[in-house]
Every structure is written in structure tokens, then in C-alpha cells.
Symmetry: C2
Subunit: 249 residues, 2 copies
């Protein structure tokens, strides 16, 4: 176990996300998977299907974070430009990966075509990420992980990576909530956060019908600290005549 | 009507999105609303509740795009740092906006508190965006629009902005689909895109039970060009013995 904090970024590639046509379903899943690996998702960028935009995002983020994940744009059609763009970001040529080619030939058999073999292309020097859901593998080059955009495939690729990445301690969190406007307890929350170094207190308002409330999410890496902060919030709520609820509302 | 393309970026501010706790629901809605205004959502960044990260994202994007929208972090608690951060990004002090203060006093009456008045703070020089859903207004400074994180409130603020921003022509799109692997029609799609300048052809694979298919989305600003490209894809599919379907699958 290490005290070092490992951080990752995600680049979501796709005009269909930016147009509002498709609702992203990878961010939240990746965030939780990363946390299980002891890695924090620290930044996300959504960029369009333009090489220069992908290159700029990947190069900015791979220099800054321990890991960069990309989703989208690795299929067999002309709008799938992720492999070319990430090759350009690394300044390496696009090559056919022999093992990826073999996987595709084994999968498609006599239905293999040049278009399908496009999915065997990788940036030179890359390795493969197993894809148990469909044929085309994911790709790793240095600290960049190139994943599918389709959530079921992305999840399969992440499953193949589970336990293989260096990480630190997962972030733990507990929620205490109350039917109170968060503005009525802002000083309490700030006081509890200040009194508990190493924990963060987030306040997220909710409306449940006509009832105003808020979830107070205490997070950190040390469970006793989190429990102590939750107890302090609950005690403070009770002092104000507000019933603490020990689950999300 | 102008040929100029207006572009916008979105900065989603919030640890709760990056932790996977909360699924963002503003991106797709904003994308579609922007398109109605003739503005294209060109980039999105999700950043954590850290001043330096918010400043970096807002300053990079406001220099690059016509408009920048932010969501999240404008409530009354200690983790709501968006106004301070954007003031820092512009190099201006945080001030209380008299009209915002009046709105909050009228809303809360004798329940007004210092914490609630925090929601009257703006970067110096900012104007307000009407909030018909709850009390605290949104904020505009130059080309940056500071919105709530709660989707119902964000939508109310966008409604107040409808028709007020300079824009160009909305992007139109039509979908033709088929139960065919996209890799079987990649050359057709590329050929149609090349033959129709000004339109983009996106290919989005789907699995419906055991059936493999794809939606082919043709987009552009000129409807006849789009219709012509859709007809060309449909004709090409038919030539390959594949039935075109004129709706999403």
C-alpha cells in the first residue's frame, strides 16, 4: 500500500456525444472501476472526431496524469480515427498488430475483409487489451489505454485490466442526509471538513416532491476519519433539531 | 443568417461527476439546446472542485470558443467554488450583485442568512441569468455562462437565454440504418461522404438481441445535401442486398 495518489483522465471521442445524440455511459462506470484499482478519475474531456483535437487532449493529459483512457472511434469506418490520432500524438506510425490481425481472422474466418482488418491497426509499439465481448481488441501504448465506445465492450476491456495497474488506496465514502436546505447547514459542513483533515465533505441538494434536502457525502481514504466526520455532521444536525438520515435521499 | 460557425464549450464542475456518484444529465441537453440556437458544442471538460483546475479549463476554453458554459458549484456551501474560481480566471474580485441579493431577500424573506446571500456573489462586471425554477440566478461574464448543476435549474436558465445568443445555422441530421455490420459498408459510407461536401456521415453500431446493425447519421446545414446523401447510402445498401431502414434502430 502506498500513500501516492494515482490519477487518471478520460478522453471521450465522438461527435455523437457532443451533438447530444448519445448519452455517455462510460464516465461513471470507469470512475468507479478506477477507484477499485486505487486510481482517481481527475479530469474528463469530450472531443469531436478531429485528429488535432484528439492529439491535443491526449498529449495534454498523458503528460499530466498517471493514466489516460480513451473511449470511442476504434471501429472499421471512416469516422473511426482514434488509432491514427493517438499514433500522431506519440509521433509513431500506424502499424498492423500481428496478434490483433490473427484474432480478427480467427473471428471473421472467410468473412474477413480489408475494412475489418482496419481494427488490427495500432500505434507502433502498442500492446493489446483483451476484448472478451466482441473481436477487436483494445490498445495500450505507454500510459494511454484505447477503449471501445460501446459500453458493454468497454466494460469487458476494463475487466481484462482489473488488478493490472499500479494504484494507491481507494477513496471511501459515506453519506449522511437530511431534509434540510443545504444553506441551513453550510457552517456545520465547513466546520466538520476543517476539523477532519484528509476528508472532503460534499453537499448535494435534492428535491423530493415538495421536500428540500441534501446528501452530505464524506470521502477520504481512512474509514475511521470518515466515520468520525459523519458522526460530527449527524450530531450537528441533531443539535439544530434536524433528523440525520444515514443513507442517500 | 450567417455562414460563420459558432462554437461553445462546457465545463462540468464537480467531484460527484468524477467519482461516478452522479451521472451527468446536462451535456446532452445543452448540446441540443445549443444546436437550436445555431451553436455547436465543440468540447466538454469535467473538472474537480479545485480552483486551479477550473481556472485552467475556463481560460483555455473562453479564448478558443465563442461561448463557454459551466455547470455546478454555485450553491451556498463550502464546496461551491465556481464563482471564486471564475473571478480568478478573469482576474476580477468577487462582489455581491445588488439585484441577485434582492432576489434572494425577496425569496427567503426572514429566512435570509449569510450563507444564502453567498449565492448573490458574482465576478465583478457580471450580469445575471434568470432562474425561474429556484431563487439563485445564473451569471454571465463576457462569453462565460455560469449555470447550476441541478438539471431542472440548468434547463430553466437555458430557457431564459433562448434566442439571445448570436448563432449561425443549426446542424440538421437524418438517420438511415440497416441490420448489417458497419464493416460491410465502410467503403460505401466513405464514398458517400466524399461525394457530398458539407455533410458528415457517422456510423454507430448497435446490437439488438443477436442482430448486428448500425445507424448511419448524416449531418450538415443544408437539408437537400443531407437528403441526397441519405438516398445515396440507401441506394448503396440496396445494391448490396441490404434493406435500408429510414429510422433509428
Amino acid at each position: 500500500m502506498t500513500d501516492r495518489i494515482y490519477r487518471a483522465a478520460l478522453v471521450i471521442i465522438g461527435n455523437e456525444i457532443l451533438s447530444g445524440r448519445t448519452q455517455d455511459a462510460n464516465l461513471a462506470y470507469l470512475a468507479k472501476w478506477l477507484n477499485q484499482q486505487g486510481i482517481r478519475l481527475a479530469e474528463v474531456r469530450v472531443v469531436c472526431d478531429e485528429t488535432s483535437d484528439i492529439v491535443a487532449a491526449v498529449n495534454a493529459l498523458r503528460a499530466r496524469y498517471d493514466y489516460v483512457f480513451t473511449t470511442g472511434g476504434i471501429g472499421p469506418t471512416h469516422d473511426d480515427i482514434t488509432v491514427e490520432a493517438i499514433s500522431a500524438a506519440f509521433g509513431v506510425p500506424v502499424v498492423y498488430h500481428p496478434k490483433a490481425e490473427q484474432i480478427l481472422r480467427d473471428h471473421y474466418k472467410d468473412r474477413i475483409t480489408d475494412a475489418r482488418l482496419l481494427m488490427a491497426r495500432v500505434p507502433q509499439g502498442a500492446s493489446l487489451i483483451e476484448n472478451a465481448v466482441s473481436a477487436a481488441p483494445g490498445i495500450r501504448i505507454e500510459n494511454v489505454f484505447i477503449m471501445a465506445g460501446i459500453p458493454s465492450v468497454t466494460r469487458g476491456m476494463l475487466a481484462a485490466l482489473s488488478g493490472t495497474l499500479a494504484g494507491g488506496q481507494p477513496v471511501l465514502s459515506q453519506t449522511v442526509s437530511a431534509f434540510v436546505p443545504e444553506s441551513s447547514v453550510s457552517e456545520l459542513l465547513l466546520g466538520v471538513e476543517k476539523a477532519h483533515p484528509g476528508v472532503l465533505v460534499g453537499s448535494y441538494p435534492v428535491w423530493r416532491g415538495n421536500k428540500v434536502g441534501a446528501n452530505f457525502v464524506v470521502s477520504g481514504i481512512n474509514l475511521p476519519d470518515i466515520q468520525s466526520a459523519v458522526a460530527a455532521i449527524a450530531a450537528g444536525l441533531t443539535l439544530q433539531g434536524i433528523e440525520p438520515i444515514f443513507e442517500e435521499i
